[in-house]
Symmetry: C2
């Protein structure tokens, strides 16, 4: 196979838990709002608010918090109290400060990968939050560097690789999101390894109909990544 | 003087207006909240909320919006309506989408600088918002690149320069903020040029007592920057 010159690792739900914290806050939100609307309606409204706000707010906890507040206002027909809204903001602050909880085998896998490869953490979300998590994880001391993309699309990956003079065919990206970690990378000629997570944000699972269903490998756990990459087996078939 | 190998240009209030848009929203906020509290108290509470939230929210419009909502809740003793809070969110969305308004002479100065020098735009704030402004400005097509720091502190500048193999003495940073563009750069041995803006966020003016009062140049307008840099005159005396 092509020589691997750079490995990109997604962070949230690939290296450490993230979606479980969002889901726990969403549970609290549904409880708080239960008197105004059904769970189904609330979930649908929150999700559609979140997605339509991405264009202007971008990704991350602050964006999610603002979308919850908008949803609370609308679903309550303007009757939700500011005390409840302040509670939503406090959940946002908690989300921004939860401890880093590694997924199984991550530290060993990253240790092992960085012995033989150039490894970057490539993530998206709130600039300060993502950076804080990377620093708290201690993995920044092992990897070559990290990048926080505004959007994990083909252009972002292409620019990232061009700046480092790496050809896409010598790049491997591993992560839990088909939308963000896999398809944009295979679409520019890179290699990708999908490591699914039980809990993945619905938005990250939505992909256009013409997204390729092959051209990338699937791994059950990140522990198997070092061996797969050292084995030299083809990654795109 | 030392050879200039890289020029950093701050963006908000150096290349284009930013603080005037925040100030206009703050005016609307004070109007909205006038029935609950005096302007002075509101300004003080908002400012202290903003600053204490920086540690967890970071910089930018979303952080400012969440701080306004918190302030509205507290200053109204929990009586502000969610309709008013929704209005605050809509101001945040407007702030994130205002057009790029260049300061005088910026386009000519950047054109001129990029002919002879390696120029980076170095800013901070919301990842997507800053990026959108840089792209809308069209200056991304002229400069070598741009970086959105989570914090403009000595470590961020040091990391940025190390990644590019540039010694601090061969780096010149120009911007309107003493706190973010000047002192962190001179403190690591770089050169800095202060281009004051009539309206600068109070926080950017607060500097510790032992910040140096010399070691950088002051320019009235960015139009004079290309000539100053080409003149080869000492920048740090």
């Amino acid at each position: 196979m092509d020589k691997v010159e750079l490995i990109g690792l997604d962070a949230d739900d690939t290296l450490w838990e993230s979606e479980i914290y969002f889901a726990a806050v969403e549970e609290k939100f549904l409880d708080l709002m239960g008197k105004y609307s059904s769970e189904d309606d609330l979930e649908r409204t929150l999700s559609s608010n979140e997605i339509s706000n991405l264009r202007v707010f971008g990704y991350g906890v602050k964006s999610f918090t603002l979308s919850m507040i908008e949803t609370a206002h609308r679903a309550s027909n303007g009757t939700i109290t500011s005390t409840d809204i302040d509670k939503i903001i406090s959940w946002g602050k908690e989300l921004l400060q939860h401890p880093v909880t590694f997924l199984d085998g991550v530290e060993e896998a990253v240790h092992s990968l960085t012995k033989d490869f150039n490894v970057f953490i490539i993530t998206k979300g709130d600039l300060l939050h993502q950076r804080n998590k990377i620093e708290e994880s201690g993995l920044d001391a092992l990897v070559t560097g990290f990048e926080i993309f505004h959007e994990k699309d083909p252009n972002s990956y292409r620019d990232f690789l061009e700046e480092r003079n790496i050809s896409p065919e010598n790049f491997v990206m591993a992560g839990n999101s088909l939308r963000s970690d896999i398809f944009p990378v295979t679409s520019i000629g890179g290699k990708a390894i999908h490591i699914p997570h039980d809990l993945t944000w619905d938005y990250e699972k939505i992909v256009s109909d013409d997204a390729p269903s092959s051209g990338y490998k699937i791994l059950e756990r990140i522990s198997d990544l070092p061996q797969l990459l050292r084995s030299g087996s083809e990654l795109d078939s």
